[in-house]
Amino acid sequence: MNEFIIALGWTGLFAPMALGAIGSVIGCAVAGQAAIGAMVDTESGFGRYLGVSVMPSSQTIYGIVVMFSLQRDVTPETAPALFGIGLLSGLALLFSALYQGRACASAIHASKTKPEIFGLSLAPAAIVEGFAVFAFVFALVLAGGIPG
């Protein structure tokens, strides 16, 4: 039984990093493809499109930081907390990156036609980023309370 709990602890330890990276992969791929499509259709603003398309990569960085903040000896006492915080923060990072990618793709699509709304079109992606930051910060706060 203890081995199983310890395995869950290790899963929780690596989950924020792994799930955040999966989300960033999908989000950046969706937004990146939209950026490439916009470059085909326009004559300028290429750097802007590429810049927006990498927004979902921040979730991987948050995941790495949460992982390091959780890092400690994995024992039957610490494993449940590591699993809970790690897995749930990882899921939050995964979905935020995924949907941020879609929001970025839509922003690229819209600002290609109407460059003057570029800033405003990023608002949904920025709000999604805000929720990822909530998950990140509170994972750090809770990680400080885990013994060991």
């Binding site: 493809q33 499509g37 085909v40 699509h109």
Partner: protein
């Protein structure tokens, strides 16, 4: 990449088309559109091609009877594997059936006797309610009474505008929830076809063609009314 995001690149490479009736030209040329559509999955590209062949007026065979056209439409629709396109094409053909019924009634024809004159689920109902205004379908198709009124007035341009507007709005409602997927591509292409059609309408060209047709018809009539030369010679004193 999830199923619903896989055409992010293709859709971003298609320029915004704007409103239908404000358009002066298509947002991109037919050649460029076809180049971009080469990014589609072959099976989905086939579905789209079948749908366009069925819907574009330029691709219709004018010599085909209504019954033959209905049989052909059923065959093509059965071959379309994508349910979204199947529903869209069915809706468009049902709309054309309604307009065809309005035109028949406007010409003074009585209700058709067999069901092979039209397509879709409304054929029987139209036949049953032939003499009712808008065939009793004004709740399902709010544009029908107006179309009937415009047809009665002979306002063909306004009628065309109304019908294209109804299709445009239907596509708008179908586009809800489709942003980066195949369905969004289908809606874009069907709208491109509508813009292509609307922007190629030319009043002067239509008037010239109409005059040509009238001249051709009158030449035939004059020829048939003119007495043969031999008859004229024998009638002379």
């Amino acid at each position: 990449m999830t199923h619903s995001d896989r055409y992010a690149m293709l859709l971003s490479a298609l320029p915004y088309h704007g409103p239908l009736f404000g358009a002066k030209q298509t947002p991109l040329s037919r050649i460029r559109l076809n180049q971009r559509l080469a990014l589609l999955d072959p099976v989905e590209a086939d579905c789209l091609r079948h749908a366009r062949r069925l819907l574009e007026w330029a691709q219709q065979e004018p010599d085909r009877t209504d019954a033959q056209a209905v049989v052909r439409a059923k065959q093509v629709i059965d071959g379309i594997t994508n349910p979204f396109i199947r529903d869209l094409v069915t809706w468009r053909l049902e709309m054309r059936t309604l307009v065809a019924a309005l035109r028949r009634r406007h010409r003074g024809e009585s209700a058709p006797r067999d069901r092979r004159w039209g397509f879709g689920r409304w054929v029987g109902r139209i036949m049953q309610h032939w003499n009712e205004p808008a065939f009793g379908l004004e709740r399902a198709f709010p544009w029908l009474p107006e179309a009937e009124r415009l047809l009665g007035r002979g306002a063909t341009v306004d009628l065309e505008r109304l019908l294209l507007g109804a299709v445009w709005n239907h596509l708008e409602s179908c586009s809800d929830g489709h942003y980066l997927d195949f369905e969004a591509v289908v809606i874009y292409v069907l709208r491109w076809d509508m813009i292509a059609r609307w922007t190629t309408y030319d009043g002067e060209e239509a008037a010239r063609r109409f005059d040509e047709l009238v001249e051709q018809a009158m030449a035939g009539v004059e020829k048939s009314l003119r007495p043969p030369a031999d008859a004229l010679r024998t009638e002379r004193p």
